[in-house]
Amino acid sequence: MARSKHQTHDGKTPTGLSWSLIAGFAAWAMDLGLSYMLEKHSCYSGHHYILHVISMVCFVIALSGFGTGWMEFQRFPASASEEGGSYFDRVHFQALLGMAFSLSFAVVIVAGAVPRWILGPCE
């Protein structure tokens, strides 16, 4: 979407941006919690794929945060900067944070999943 210098706002943080800010953390916490919880069941039943599916889903959730953050980033006026004092500048900064958080935690999720892929979750 093209940026507009005349965009107005209601002072609230856009929903997409809010999602972008929390998606990475939420996905990572979900990956940790669910994997930990289902580990015994997965190993006992032999359904190892459950743990891989959890990580994949959480990875996608984290990336969705990056996507919504990117879309919000595109909506801001061209004049917005990271350091300005206006609403748009603040949201611009938050969009950067959201993208960075989402991407970082997507990497953390992959890092946690790699040993499971290589070594197997139950060895």
Binding site: L32, L97, V108, L119
Partner: protein, 642 residues
């Protein structure tokens, strides 16, 4: 409380001396002993936190000297095994709970955060004062127990079943558990005060993207405290119930689980490391920016790193439990997370180095301590990467290698930045600059002594010397390395003595500081040193990330706040737009009395559970006094007088 839109105008021809006089009268703290206990201003409480914590650093240091003296030669009989157990437990508990957190998070935070925000006081000042007295109460309980031969002897983490009723009869473990409750309630109280101050008391213009790095770090730490501390309070509370009431939360014979205790403890314990380290990083970011004479490099990456560290700190607690026989998935997951947390810390390191690289470095005393931090913390971080690996961790588990690692991390991450921060804000706190020559002696003695002692411990650990043994046989061949390690303590002690001499001498004869001796950009340097009781004559507005560097001389200030009552400005949590005015509750003796009542209930509960129902009414009475309304505020004067 009146709600009014503050007026933004130029700070000219406003009868500043008259205003200053009125504000000083309105915001002054009562004098005398009663006044001392009634004081709720953040600068006073912040300094009290720091001074008290420093006293406990010295006491904990004396215990460390005793440990090193005991271990200096094989089969030494200076301290017997029972006293040795108490000494190392007291050393760890004192340093973590009575020094590191109260100094790095509470002390510096309470003093600096409102000044950096441009506020006249901290949010919830009575809660803040209450938190200080409760912290002192916990400290007195712990040290009172130790001095009456009832000091805890179960290690600073008091693992069950050792600390349970079967293996620790008497009240030693109870005292440890209750000290935890005291100090953690105190930390929680301050966390709420600091987080609220940062979110609601920022000067107009200080939007989220203009907040100083220190405020970001304090905000993240406050939230980490709020999420981490309840875990350890639950652990210590359940332990107390097992010991005093006869429950079986940690008794496997009755369906309890000893690992539950470790999970709860380390869910707090590892974020605690970051609760101690991040304030140090906040000080380093501030000092490096100031003495590099340029803006911090990579503001956004640092913010991302700080927030990510705060979250990831909650995902690595199990690496303290690798030796307990956890499932393989847990080990691999927490190994990965433990390695990943290096990345945000590394990002901060690179940003500091880049700031120095692209700046015009002034190697002043606080900066010297920052370089010490870089060196020491880096070594601690590298050995941390080693310990994150399960095979290495299992090899060196419970040896002096681990002791060396966490002293590099904690002394590197807390003590070195603490001294940087003390030398940096000493002029603001006291109005005088600390002596540079003595400061350099302090640095080099401490730095050399620290590395002699703790680098040597790596080798002792690799040679297999276990932690928490009160002596060893000559056939182990550890005495040479132990003697070297103990010799370093002499240098460290000398360094601390030089520091004390420097403080007392500089307080009397130090060079007068002026408002901003370092030429720093933070709002705390815009008022006189030490700050007046109202902090800011006019609440400032901010036009950039570095207010005193970015803002023009005619930067608008906030006017319209009354000077006959303690009015503060509340702003929007994201955009810092003025929203309404709030009234500071002012000095009160009730927080102190409430802390006495709570302390009595806590201490009494060590001996009988009935202390809780008996103590509760006393606490309620003091809380009623605390919250009792004082009637309407004085009538506002005409606007032209404001």
């Amino acid at each position: 409380m009146a709600v009014a839109e503050p007026i933004l105008g130029n700070d000219q021809d406003t009868g500043q001396s008259v205003l200053a006089h009125r504000l000083a009268r309105t915001w002054r703290q009562p004098r005398g002993l009663w006044g001392w206990f009634s004081n709720t201003h953040h600068t006073d409480i912040g300094i009290r936190f720091m001074v008290t914590a420093f006293i406990f650093l010295l006491l904990g240091g004396i215990l460390a000297v005793l440990i090193r003296l005991q271990l200096v030669r094989p089969e030494n009989s200076l301290i017997g095994p029972d006293l040795y157990n108490q000494v190392f437990t007291m050393h760890g508990s004192t340093m973590i709970f009575l020094f590191a957190v109260p100094m790095m998070f509470q002390g510096f935070g309470v003093y600096v955060v409102p000044l950096m925000c441009g506020a006249r006081n901290i949010a919830f000042p009575r809660l803040n004062a209450f938190s200080y007295y409760l912290y002192v109460g916990g400290a007195l309980v712990l040290w009172g127990g130790f001095l009456t031969n009832t000091g805890p002897d179960v290690g600073w983490f008091a693992y069950v079943p050792l600390s349970g009723p079967a293996y620790s009869p008497g009240h030693r473990a109870d005292i440890w558990s209750q000290m935890i409750t005291f100090t953690e309630v105190s930390a929680l109280g301050v966390a709420i005060c600091i987080a609220t101050t940062i979110l609601r008391y920022r000067a107009p213009g200080m939007t989220l993207n203009r907040m100083p790095i220190l405020l970001w770090e304090k905000l993240v730490i406050s939230l980490a405290v709020i999420f981490a501390m309840p875990a350890v309070m639950i652990a210590s509370g359940l332990l107390l119930l097992d010991r005093l009431v006869g429950t079986h939360f940690f008794n496997p014979a009755e369906g309890g689980d000893v690992l539950l205790y470790q999970h709860l403890f380390w869910f707090f314990g590892h974020p605690e490391v970051y609760i101690i380290f991040l304030p140090g990083a906040a000080i380093v970011s501030t000092v490096v920016e100031c003495f590099s004479r340029r803006r911090i490099f990579g503001y956004t990456p640092i913010v991302v790193s700080v927030v990510a560290t705060g979250f990831l700190g909650f995902s690595v607690w199990v690496h303290h439990m690798f030796a307990t026989g956890l499932p393989q998935l847990s080990e691999s997951f927490f190994t990965a997370a433990s390695l990943m947390i290096v990345i945000p810390t590394g990002v901060q390191f690179f940003c500091w180095v880049a700031t120095i690289w692209h700046g015009r470095l002034q190697l002043r005393l606080p900066m010297l301590w920052c370089f010490g931090f870089f060196f020491v913390f880096l070594i601690g971080g590298l050995s941390g990467v080693m310990l994150a690996s399960v095979p290495v961790d299992l090899q060196v588990h419970d040896t002096y290698f681990v002791v060396a690692h966490f002293h590099y991390v904690l002394i590197g991450g807390a003590l070195f930045p603490m001294f940087a921060g003390i030398y940096f804000w000493f002029p603001k706190m006291t109005g005088r600059i600390a002596d540079t020559t003595l400061g350099k002696w302090h640095f080099w003695l401490f730095f050399i002594g620290f590395n002699i002692t703790f680098f040597t411990l790596h080798f002792l650990g690799l040679h297999g010397m276990p932690r928490r043994v009160y002596t060893y046989g000559p056939d182990m061949h550890w005495h040479g390395l132990n003697a070297v390690a103990s010799s370093g303590v002499v240098f460290m002690t000398a360094g601390l003595l030089v520091f004390l001499v420097n403080v007392f001498r500089s307080l009397r004869t130090g060079e007068t500081a002026g408002n901003n001796p370092w030429g720093d950009a933070g709002l705390e340097w815009s008022m006189s040193s030490p700050p007046p009781p109202y902090n800011f004559l006019h609440v400032p507005t901010v036009g950039g990330r570095d207010p005193l560097w970015d803002d023009p001389p005619d930067q608008p200030v906030v006017v319209g706040l009354r000077d006959d009552i303690r009015e503060t400005l509340v702003t929007h949590s994201l955009d810092a737009d003025p929203q309404h005015k709030d009234e500071d509750p002012g000095p009160s003796i009730w927080p102190f009395l409430a802390s006495v009542a709570v302390s009595a209930a806590f201490v009494g509960s060590i001996f009988t559970p009935w202390a809780v129902p008996i103590g509760a009414p006393l606490v309620i009475v003091t809380l009623v006094g605390w919250l009792w309304p004082h009637g309407p505020s004085p009538t506002p004067r005409p606007a032209e007088e404001v």
